[in-house]
Each structure stands twice: as structure tokens, then as C-alpha cells.
Amino acid sequence: MTRQKRSHHKLKRAVAPYLYLSPSLLIIGLLMLLPMVTVIAYSFQNSAVLRRDPSFAGLKHYQAIFDDPVFWASLWHTLYFTCMSVIFHMTIGMIFALMLNSDRINPTLRNILRVLYILPWLFTAVIIAVIWRLLLEPNGVVNSILMQIGIIGSKVEWFSSPQTALHAVTFANIWAGYPLFMVSLLAGLQGIPKDFYEAADIDGAKAYQKLIFITIPQLMPIIISISLLDFIWTMQVFPLIWITTGGGPIYATEVLSTYTYKLAFSSYNLSQASASAVVILLISLGLTLFYIRYQKAR
């Protein structure tokens, strides 16, 4: 190759990656980063979106949100819904993964159960919501079974009584979400070297000691990263709550996403909704930074 040709080649190598990335960067820039800037701008405007020349509002909309008791109730419900979901996703996922990984069950049974245990994952949130509405109907099958066994004395209106609604949606979400943990932990379990357990057997370790001193520490990186992701995603859940309770009765199951949605598209207060959306964004970004830092440290 001549020198000129080589430098031409070099230039091509230098420009090429940007060309390959340009469609993606264009989409992410225009449809993700720009809207994020836009929503922040909206939150400082009066009658955002609705008026062509909105006036500057300062922190007025943030003030309005922080003064709204429904916002704080939504924040609390989101926290309860998310924490309970993540804890139970992890616990159930762990129990199922350990059971499936046991050498006491026959491999064919294991494979069949593995497929069946993943089932809840294969259904859209809307469908999950509809299924649970049918199951938890006052005249539905859950009430009828619970009354037969004698756990409840009369029909419970799971989704429409303020005492049970939040627990009911949380339960439905727990059911819907554990397979992510199960699948990831199962993959993790299969990656733990067998000699660890053999060495423990020689030392006469009991089953629970092996669990606490080998299995759980080995799975810790997976547990932490999935918990963080699950926390971020569960915090953003919308359709499940929207279809089962719509945030009601009254505000009993209002979470940040339904609260923001209603501000924007029921009250058409898009400025205040933007302020609320920015608050959600900041919480998510905080957790994301934490997650990325954790992934890099690994």
C-alpha cells in the first residue's frame, strides 16, 4: 500500500464507527435526550404544551406537587409496592431456583417444572391484570376457595376495598415478576463450582450452612444487580395498576406513575404532570447511577 492509500484507509477506520452509530445516536438523541430536556422545560412553564407561548413559572409546579397530599400518598404506595415486590420476587425466585437445582428431583420433571414456573413471565401486564381481576372478583374463585377453607368469613372485595386494594395489586405484581430472579439465579447456581460443596461435605457442613456460606455469597452479585433493576422497573409499573384499580378506590393504590398520568391526561395539567415526571426521572436516575457504579465495580 502507498502511504496515501494507507492514510486514506486510516481515516476511513476513524470515521466508520461514528457512521455505524449515527442512526442510533440520532434516535436516542432526538427521541430520548431531547424529550428529557423538554419535560424539564415544561415543568417550569405555565400551561405547557397547551399554549404556544407559555410563561415562566419558576418552581411553582414543584411547590404544588410537594403540597399535594396525594403526591406523598402515591410516593408511599410506590415505595410499599416496589419494596414488597422486590423482596418477594427475590425470595420466591430463590426458593424456586434452589428447588429446581436440587439433585433430588428427576431431570425430566425438572425441565417441565422449569417451563411452567416461568409462565407468569410470558404474559402482558394488561392480561395479568385482567386474570387477577377475574380471580379476585367478589364472586370469583379465590373468594370461594378461601371461604370453603374458612380463612375468610364473607366475600372480600380485594380490589375495591381501601383496606385490601394495595395488597392485592402488590400480590398480583409479585406473581407476575418472580421469574426474572428465578431464571437468573438458576443460571447463577449452575455456575457455582461443585468443589466448593464437596469441600464443605468433607468438613461435615450441614445443608443450611452450605446455603449461607457458599450459595448465597456466590449469588450475591446477581442478587444485587437484579434487585436494583427490578426496583427501578417496578417503580415505573403502570398498566397493572391502571387496569386493576386505576389508582383507586379513592387514592388507595395511587402510585407515582398513575398520579402523573392522571395529572397529564385527566386534568390536562401538563406542567404539573411534567414536574411530577421529573421527580420520577430523578429517582430513577439516582438508582441507575448506583446500578452502573455497581456493575463497573464488579
Binding site: K12, L21, Y261, A277
Partner: protein
């Protein structure tokens, strides 16, 4: 090997199987109930005591759904939007992944971090500016609005998934093309794409699934019944015929079929996509 003696050991095995059965009931009963209710009449769904198997097996709910052009349109819309987004996403992500996997360039690390973090941006935050943009560009209630906005949340995953796959392919392959004087573009299409099919399938499956499940944008950025997708269609059905549970269940079964089929046929790719980004 562990010693298998004593009654205690047998007891543990029995207890494990009881727990497995309880787990199966927990995981599968709600889905079984959906399936069995879709074959019942509306009166039988709430019969006391509940019937586990449909006593009078009927396909009337399915006939009602499949005979209604409005509902078939929901399915067409879902397939069309998810299909279009999948094709676009895979093409665009393949190019980006090739750039990430085969080149070193300034800003690579920070771009990668940006893409990872965009996975966690709350959809509700993007929804309000999207609504503003979609209305002001006159694409409210169109396929274009859905396809463009869906791309935003399918792309980051797809790029990460494809980059991960391309990184597993040896570099000698495309370097051989370069030695022969071919450009990186030639190497991509002649060498990389043909051997990347498993990665492309996994990415397509996951992208399709994300689009098929999407609810919030479809709810807000479309309005007319003819533009609605399956999840919104189910919600509408719920509002209009609140007591026709058998139809709602039949529609839910039909709406779940694509994902169930993909899962059964391509379990490996499916799981690869579902756990992408969370497990390295």
C-alpha cells in the same frame, strides 16, 4: 456423593416434591383459570362451587372475538407495529453493535454508559414530551407515532444484546476481508451477518415482545378504535362488556399466543433476551 440413608432423607425428598407442587399451583393456576374460563359460558364462570374443567365446553367466546372485525383490527395493529419496530430495531442496532464491537473510538465508554442508563428511563417521563411532539407534528393517532416512540425503548436493549453477541465472534473473520481489500461494510454483510443469526433472532424475539406488551404509549398516542393495539383492546373490552369475562379471557389467550409460541419454539433465544442487561 451424599449418603442416602434413613427415613429422614426420604422425608426431605417427599417434602421437596410437596413444595414443588405448591409452587406449581401458585405459578400456573391463574393461567389455567384464564384458559379454562375462556371455554366456559359467562354463567359458568361464576358458578358455585367453581368448575375446574368447563362443564359445558364452548367456543362461543372465541367465535365472538374472531368474528368481530374491530377486534381483528387490534391484532393486525399489534402485529404490524411490533413487526415494523422489530425490523427497524434489528437493522439499526446491528450497525451500532458493529461499531461498538469492532472499532475503538473516542467517546466509546461514555456512549456505552449512556445506552445502559437509557434502559431505566421511566416511560411516563418520556410520555408527556412525546405527546407534545406527536401532536405538534400531526402524527397523533398514527402508526408512525407508535413506531417512532417504540424504537426509543427497544433500541438500547437491542444494541447491548447485539454488541454482546458480536463480541463473541472472532475478529480474524472480518480482518480477513480487510486483508483482501474489502471495506468494513463488506465485512459486515458478507461475514458478520450470516454468522450472527442466533444473535439477530434473540434480539428480534425480545424486541417483538417489548412492543407486543407496550401499553402506556399506545394508550396515549392513539385515539381511534382502528388504531388500537391488543392491550388497549382488552382494556376497551373491559369497559364496554364488563361482565363478558369469557370474551376477555379468550382475547387474553389469543393475545398471549405469539409470546407463548415464540417461547416454546425458541426458548433459548427468549431467555437470552429476557435476561439481557441484567446478567453479564
Amino acid at each position: 456423593m451424599r449418603k442416602r440413608n434413613s427415613g429422614k432423607d426420604k422425608l426431605i425428598t417427599v417434602a421437596l416434591h410437596v413444595a414443588l407442587a405448591a409452587g406449581l399451583f401458585f405459578a400456573a393456576f391463574p393461567i389455567y383459570w384464564m384458559l379454562s374460563s375462556s371455554f366456559k359460558s359467562n354463567t359458568e364462570i361464576f358458578a358455585l362451587p367453581p368448575t375446574i374443567l368447563p362443564k359445558a365446553f364452548t367456543l362461543e367466546a372465541y367465535a365472538a372475538i374472531l368474528g368481530d372485525p374491530v377486534k381483528l383490527r387490534f391484532f393486525f395493529n399489534s402485529y404490524f407495529v411490533a413487526g415494523a419496530v422489530t425490523v427497524l430495531t434489528v437493522l439499526i442496532a446491528l450497525l451500532a453493535a458493529y461499531g461498538f464491537s469492532r472499532f475503538n473510538f473516542r467517546g466509546k465508554g461514555s456512549l456505552n454508559t449512556i445506552i445502559i442508563s437509557t434502559q431505566t428511563i421511566p416511560p411516563i417521563t418520556l410520555l408527556i414530551p412525546f405527546f407534545g411532539l406527536v401532536v405538534s407534528y400531526g402524527i397523533f393517532d398514527t402508526y408512525v407515532a407508535l413506531i417512532l416512540t417504540y424504537l426509543v425503548f427497544t433500541l438500547p436493549y437491542a444494541i447491548l444484546l447485539m454488541t454482546g453477541y458480536l463480541n463473541t465472534l472472532p475478529r480474524d473473520l472480518d480482518e480477513a476481508v480487510a486483508v483482501d481489500g474489502g471495506s468494513s461494510w463488506t465485512a459486515l454483510w458478507r461475514v458478520i451477518v450470516p454468522i450472527s443469526l442466533p444473535g439477530i433472532v434473540a434480539t428480534s424475539v425480545y424486541t417483538f415482545l417489548l412492543c407486543w406488551n407496550e401499553f402506556l404509549f399506545a394508550l396515549t398516542l392513539t385515539k381511534s378504535t382502528s388504531m388500537r393495539t391488543v392491550p388497549i383492546g382488552i382494556q376497551l373490552l373491559m369497559g364496554q362488556h364488563a361482565f363478558e369475562w369469557n370474551q376477555m379471557m379468550a382475547m387474553s389467550v389469543l393475545g398471549s399466543l405469539p409470546l407463548l409460541l415464540i417461547y416454546l419454539v425458541a426458548q433459548r433465544y427468549f431467555l437470552a433476551g429476557m435476561t439481557a442487561g441484567s446478567v453479564k
